[in-house]
């Protein structure tokens, strides 16, 4: 990754009693870039995001955001961060406009033009009461609130899960423009891998609290590929034992799909040994995800 690190963790461990939410996490996130934070449910994504902004503190290890230890983040650093939480909440008696007006006082760089633009693009009425907003509209408001102060670091925890596809596309496009315009670093956690894939250029994958992958999306795609295999004369084996096979799906005795580690794989030797035709395709993030979290051996 290029640029200064916006977040660094060294042997970061977070325990909640008997539950270990983060295990020995060491990583460095640099920008400007869009970083996708992926992982299964309860893999530690939200906890990691909360550590970045200092809402939770490590049980062991260290965490630094924008060059400062997260327990010592000052207003100067926090005003450079925008956060969208998984379940955003606002002051319920206010209207959308009042809420944004209220929040604007905390940030020295609040941009009313951007606020107006975002409200318009996301179809939010500033006169709407907070209590009357749908889940999706609350999420939209959270996104507006997180972006109007030109943050250098934007943390988005499942920001588009409740949004319709049209608004989702608008948001993702805007995020992409934001990186260009503000040189911002965006960390986006989501289960909608198609969205992540179309937006991010770096992937951090957490599995059971530990970092399972930390690489650029292009590198990950180069490392793996999908082979679509069709038998020529004899049936395919029930299970492929080659070491480079990361994931396999035998559709029927005559055809199978394999996710393979591209560096180790020898296509010619494989075709010869199994007497099969192989069609090579790039693996998308949806296909990569089970491999990254170690769920591919089936």
């Amino acid at each position: 990754m290029m640029g200064e690190p916006v977040f660094e963790a060294a042997a970061l461990t977070k325990e909640f009693g008997a539950v270990t939410a983060l295990r020995d996490v060491s990583l460095s996130l640099a920008g400007p870039s869009i970083i996708g934070l992926i992982g299964r449910n309860a893999s530690g994504k939200t906890t990691l995001l909360r550590h970045i902004v200092g809402l939770q503190l490590p049980t062991r290890g260290t965490a630094r955001t924008l060059g400062v230890a997260t327990d010592r983040l000052e207003h100067q650093q926090l005003a450079r961060i925008g956060v969208v939480t998984q379940t955003p909440s606002f002051i319920h008696w206010m209207t959308v406009g009042k809420q944004l007006h209220y929040l604007s006082g905390f940030y020295p760089r609040w941009d009313l033009v951007r606020q107006r633009f975002l409200l318009d693009r996301l179809d939010l009425d500033e006169r709407s009461a907070i209590t009357g907003l749908s889940t999706g509209s609350v999420q939209k408001l959270a996104i507006v609130a997180a972006l109007c102060h030109h943050p250098d670091l934007i943390l988005l925890d499942e920001p588009v899960s409740s949004l319709d596809p049209i608004v989702r596309d608008r948001i993702l496009k805007f995020l992409f423009d934001l990186v260009q315009e503000d040189n911002a670093t965006i960390v986006i956690s989501s289960h909608i891998l198609d969205d992540i894939e179309s937006t991010v250029d770096w992937i951090v994958c957490l599995n059971d609290g530990a970092v399972a992958a930390h690489a650029s999306l292009d590198d990950l795609k180069d490392q793996y590929a999908e082979w679509r295999i069709t038998a020529r004369t004899r049936d395919l084996p029930r299970r492929f034992e080659e070491s480079f096979v990361a994931r396999q799906t035998v559709v029927n005795p005559r055809s199978a799909r394999l996710a393979i580690r591209a560096v180790q794989a020898d296509l010619s030797a494989f075709q010869l040994s199994h007497d099969a035709d192989v069609e090579v395709e790039a693996l998308n993030l949806q296909g990569l995800f089970p491999i990254l979290i170690g769920d591919g051996k089936r």
Partner: protein
């Protein structure tokens, strides 16, 4: 879910805490006080009826909590199952006052009368908790309970068991119908989900919000308002912004306090008209002060919004402590007004009463930190188990502490100046302890709950 729909909800540590912290000491206290009056059985009967009321309101609270969850409405026959179990619990509980009377008198009519009365008290208490509009009446119930332990029941009532039984059955039926019919439960579910503060009813909430909305429409800006500017230091800015966020609560708090003060005054006036000796006024007033203060603090504390401003932990600490200190120092001054009003309203010439009220107000302020903890508002509130215990522990600790200060201080020092100095030392000590705890919290603890 149909079998044990209510009892499954009740079978949890919170129930044990409730019984241990609230019911048991009250019952024991009353038993100790009235131990020598067994022959009339009336005091023991009152304790049994009081327990019926407490258990009824507790079960009502559990029902409200559960029907607030959307999943409850997807359960087949949930309401019916809960109501039947509530009634079954009521029948079981109302056996206790019946037994008391049976042991004391042996008369069947009186036994039945006590049981029916117990069931009526149980039903009304439960329904009061379920019906959102009736929530403020809980305080009237508290006032009535205070009187109940002090006044004697007219003999004419005790001599007409048939009438009492008839009225009791009618009241129970009405309470169960009002509290548990489909429409009431549906309405209660909406209120439970949206009510801003525990017992503050949703109708009051919507009424106040409706006024806000009308005002907003009138004052609606034609374009987006410029960004707000808070003046002063970072701490004063933080305090100002926090008070702005809780402004709505400060509208509610006087309403709550008003209801409570009116309740206390009414109780005292009725008491004075019934009895001329050993008036309950001082006792009721200092209990009132010990309740009003924490209600105001809670209203402020609970309204800490979900918005996390970009403040450093240092600033969170400074803002939080400053705001809480303002609340603490403002309370004794604010408490003087209702106290003086009550003093003149009752035309009570006893100057000691004012001294007692002043002691109660300052002593209540000493215990404010008990209600101001945990400092992160919503995040801390989510720790259900600790909060459940705290809900009961905090009033008990405060009322006990205030009682010790009000009653005990004159025995230690008769001079008002020495008493004032003693209370001042306690106030400073409580603030120092609170500051140390707050500082430790903000420097070492998570500001949000566990959630991965």
């Amino acid at each position: 879910m149909r079998r044990g729909a209510l009892l499954t909800l009740v079978a949890r540590p919170m129930t044990i805490t409730f019984v241990a912290i609230v019911v048991a000491p009250l019952v024991m206290l009353q038993v100790l006080i009235f131990m020598g009056e067994w022959e009339s059985a009336s005091q023991v009967l009152r304790i049994a009826l009081f327990a019926c009321a407490m258990i009824g309101s507790y079960l009502g609270g559990q029902i409200v909590q559960t029907i607030g969850y959307p999943f409850a409405w997807t359960l087949p026959r949930f309401r019916r199952a809960v109501v039947w179990e509530f009634v079954a619990c009521g029948v079981a509980v109302s056996v206790v006052p019946g037994l008391v009377v049976a042991i004391a008198t042996g008369a069947m009519a009186s036994t039945l009368m006590a049981s029916v009365t117990g069931f009526a008290v149980f039903s009304v208490s439960g329904a009061l908790c379920v019906i959102p509009e009736a929530a403020p009446l809980v305080w009237l119930g508290c006032g009535a309970a205070l009187m109940w332990f002090r006044m004697s029941v007219p003999a004419a009532i005790l001599d007409a068991p048939v009438a009492v039984i008839t009225v009791g059955i009618a009241i129970s039926s009405l309470a169960l119908w009002l509290g548990f019919r489909t429409r009431a439960v549906r309405w209660s579910a909406v209120c439970a989900r949206q009510a801003p503060v525990g017992w503050v009813s949703y109708p009051l909430h919507t009424l106040l919000r409706g006024q806000n909305r009308l005002r907003d429409q009138v004052n609606a800006p034609s374009a987006i308002a410029p960004r707000v500017e808070y003046v002063g230091t970072s701490v004063s800015q933080g305090v100002a912004s926090t008070y702005r966020a809780v402004r709505y609560r400060w509208v509610q708090a006087p309403v709550q306090v008003g209801i409570l003060v009116i309740t206390m005054i009414t109780t005292d006036l009725i008491w004075l008209s019934l009895n001329n000796d050993s008036p309950a006024v001082p006792l009721n007033l200092w209990i009132g002060l010990a309740i009003v203060g924490p209600i105001t603090v809670e209203a402020s504390r609970r309204s800490t919004s979900g918005v996390v401003p970009p403040w450093s932990r240092r600033q969170h600490l400074a803002v939080g402590y400053t705001r809480d200190l303002i609340d603490t120092l403002a309370y004794p001054i604010a408490a003087c007004f209702p106290a003086i009003a009550v003093f003149f309203l009752l035309a009570h010439p006893d100057r000691q009463l004012l001294g007692m009220l002043a002691r109660a107000a300052v002593a209540t302020a000493v215990f404010f930190p008990v209600f101001q903890w945990p400092p992160t508002g919503k995040a801390g509130m989510r720790q259900r188990h600790s909060m459940s215990a705290a809900t009961f522990v905090r009033p008990v600790v405060t009322v006990t502490g205030v009682a010790v200060c009000v009653a005990g201080l004159p025995h230690l020092a008769s001079a008002p100046a020495v008493q004032a100095a003693g209370l001042g030392v306690l106030l400073v000590a409580s603030q120092v302890i609170y500051w140390v705890m707050l500082r430790r919290f903000f420097t070492t603890r998570d500001l949000v709950d566990q959630e991965t």
